[in-house]
């Protein structure tokens, strides 16, 4: 009796159920609270827009996205995947941070279902031999973008400040290799992820390194700490640049006194300029749902979501959902997306991933590299202090 009661309560709370004939259930495991919440919420907005666009344009199928907050914790992410599976999810999307994506995608592999993300760039993620792991971004794309901009600006010496986490350390290592091969001077400053006071590092950079540019590979709180310390110590650099989560309208909105002239990776400018029909469809749906301009996290969330929904629908139609049809649909062709062509290799990596560099310019995020995509001239030399 007690066991029956418990199972009934659990069934109610878990909302167990299977997919309807034409409604495809997709699980989204994403950090909505905890340290990665800001990025997770941005990605989640994009995934929700992808679901809306798919449901309005597919004509045959609809998707239902069930979202579970992984609280930025690896164990909760694994539990989220298992819960989504119990709720009938046919595939999974979401995830931010290689440390969380690693165990979550392992869990998805055990269940034999595809896991698609844009939030983890550590190379090891795609070297585990998983058949169901896919991602649209990777470390190489970020490193090449920073290196490309620094070539254009003809920068010759760098202080490279990076978090010792897997993905950040990897991008930093790639950058060091590229710059060293080009005969440029690079001084490394790895830091523990728990560090909040960067003044000692900036002091060393100002007095010892004296670089032309400061490069940062970390996360939002790290960038804020580094730039704050730089504003106090005012090192004599010509430029300061970083990777993800930096050239975003949200960062300007939250820290306008720190962001002006800072470079970061971004697929689109802000205010966004949408030219193709697909871009315009996305932008209109995004504004309608979230009442704001999309940022790059939303764009990545949209792209990863839409790619997955289309692949699941294709496998559903072919009757191959349970025999690897979703991963086959993702691998077999090139996909035209908002971030360019996406081509997945055997390991699930997007071999075509390339990023652009943008600069905060008085509240706008202007694309400044590569030249053919630029929406404004780079302000150089220019730093926030």
């Amino acid at each position: 009796m007690i066991a029956r009661m418990i199972s009934s309560v659990l069934a109610l709370t878990l909302g167990l159920g299977a997919a309807n004939a034409d409604e495809l259930i997709i699980g989204s495991q994403i950090p909505l609270t905890g340290s990665a919440a800001r990025a997770g919420m941005g990605m989640n907005e994009g995934i929700q827009v992808a679901a809306k666009v798919f449901n309005e344009t597919n004509g045959k199928h609809t998707v239902k996205v069930i979202t579970i907050d992984d609280e930025s914790q690896p164990a909760k992410a694994v539990a989220a995947i298992e819960r989504l599976n119990a709720q009938g999810a046919l595939a999974f999307t979401g995830g931010y941070g290689s440390n969380i994506i690693g165990p979550a995608s392992d869990a998805a592999e055990r269940l034999g279902k595809v896991y698609m993300t844009s939030g983890g760039v550590a190379t090891e993620l795609s070297q585990r031999g998983l058949k169901t792991f896919f991602r649209i971004s990777n470390a190489t794309g970020y490193a090449k973008a920073l290196a490309g901009l620094s070539d254009t600006l003809d920068l010759q010496s760098f202080s490279l400040i990076y978090s010792t986490r897997e993905s950040t350390a990897e991008v930093a290592k790639l950058l060091e290799e590229i710059w060293t091969a080009e005969g440029k001077k690079v001084t490394l400053h790895p830091f523990d992820p728990s560090i909040a006071d960067f003044k000692p590092v900036l002091h060393k950079i100002k007095l010892q390194d004296r670089p032309e540019a400061i490069a940062m590979v970390g996360y939002e709180n790290d960038y804020v700490g580094i730039i704050r310390a730089a504003k106090v110590l005012k090192p004599d650099a010509k430029a300061i640049m970083g990777t993800w989560s930096l050239a975003t309208p949200k960062m300007w909105q939250d820290f306008p006194d720190l962001m002006n002239n800072v470079y970061g990776t971004a697929p689109l400018p802000y205010p966004a300029q949408f030219n193709t029909p697909e871009e315009q469809t996305f932008a209109e749906a995004y504004k309608e749902m979230h009442n704001k301009e999309p940022d790059y996290l939303g764009i990545f969330g949209y792209v990863q979501g839409l790619l997955l929904f289309n692949a699941v629908a294709e496998a559903y139609d072919a009757g191959t959902l349970n025999s690897g049809g979703v991963q086959d649909a993702l691998r077999k062709t090139e996909h035209d997306t908002l971030i360019g062509k996406v081509i997945f290799d055997e390991s699930g990596d997007n071999t075509n991933f390339a990023h652009r560099m943008a600069q905060h310019q008085d509240g706008a995020v202007a694309i400044v590299w590569p030249k053919e995509s630029a929406t404004a001239e780079a302000r150089f030399p220019a730093v926030p202090w």
Partner: protein
């Protein structure tokens, strides 16, 4: 007799009813495994707190050391997973010897010193990149193996392993508690000076129980590493491994044998299955309120409160 019958019913329920009812649902079993992991740490923590009166804020150190020890032995030395888990516990026990200078301290000073040790081990795990891969952590840690055709790497297999580990932890606690040394340790909890007067070697006993508690916590950490197949310093040495265990032990009644287990199961399962369903984000608020209520209305914990209610009702029935 009634006591043993209850125990047999609980064991039968744990080994048979739960797998039969929920074995097909990885999510439910996964959450139960997480709750049992907390339960194992909570018992080991309560052992140190109840026997010897040492309130530790740093058990995450032993959890993390056990986890890293086992994972590295399995990945780099090729040791099979089950012996690695045992070795992880042994390593945590050995490492606890480094913390023994803290035995000179009492009360909040001991608690804070242990917290400092947990931070030291976390930083060591970050800095010893050649061994631990630093903040990058370890991915694809070997899973629990398949033995005689049964896959212990499955969620259900993990459940049986962690359940057995928790029961063994409780058994060790029971053994120590019922020995003369256990009596001396419990007396030390109330007045260490009084036990010194009657000739108890307090330092030796406290050191021994610290090693045992660290070993048992290390075993739970080692299991977790092979269960979740991933480690990084912030995860392995996270303070929540200690705070959740303390919350569970105090909620259930840390001076009782089964209180920490009951506390962990109730706190974790109710939070994940009920509160999180009601409030997907910020559900810990409800849990916090519930814990505050328990601490205010029954400082000795849930099980002692239930036992006193049961005795009162039995007394009322016998003497209407």
């Amino acid at each position: 007799m009634m006591k043993y019958l209850s125990l047999i019913i609980i064991l039968a329920g744990a080994y048979l009813a739960v797998p039969l009812q929920f074995g097909g649902n990885d999510y439910v079993i996964g959450i139960v495994v997480s709750a049992l992991t907390i339960a194992g740490i909570a018992v080991a923590w309560a052992m140190l707190g109840n026997l010897g009166g040492m309130i530790s804020f740093g058990h995450s150190a032993f959890f993390g050391v056990g986890a890293y020890g086992s994972a590295l032995l399995a990945m780099n030395a090729g040791l099979p997973v089950f012996p690695s888990i045992l070795a992880g516990g042994v390593i945590a026990g050995v490492v606890s010897i480094l913390t023994m200078p803290t035995l000179r301290l009492r009360g909040p000073y001991f608690a804070l010193a242990m917290l400092a040790f947990a931070e030291i081990f976390r930083i060591l795990a970050i800095e010893m990149r050649w061994l631990t891969n630093g903040s990058g952590g370890l991915l694809s840690i070997p899973r629990l193996p398949t033995v005689f055709g049964f896959d212990f790497g499955s969620r259900l297999g993990g459940y049986f392993v962690v359940l057995t580990l928790v029961l063994l932890t409780v058994f060790v606690y029971w053994l120590i508690r019922n020995r003369p040394e256990g009596l001396a340790l419990r007396a030390m909890h109330d007045s260490e000076d009084a036990t010194l007067v009657v000739g108890v070697n307090a330092t030796r006993l406290k050191a021994a129980v610290l090693v045992v508690s660290a070993f048992l916590t290390g075993i739970m950490g080692a299991f977790n590493a092979h269960y979740i197949n991933f480690l990084e310093p912030d995860y392995a040495f996270n303070g929540s491994w200690t705070t959740l265990a303390i919350v569970a032990a105090i909620f259930g009644g840390y001076k009782t044998l089964w209180g920490p287990v009951a506390g962990a199961l109730i706190v974790y399962l109710v939070d994940q299955f009920v509160f999180k369903a009601i409030m997907p984000s910020g559900h810990q608020l409800i849990l916090g309120g519930l814990l505050a209520a328990i601490v205010i209305f029954s400082p000795s914990g849930l099980l002692p409160w239930l036992a006193s209610r049961f005795r009162k009702e039995a007394g009322d029935a016998a003497h209407p």
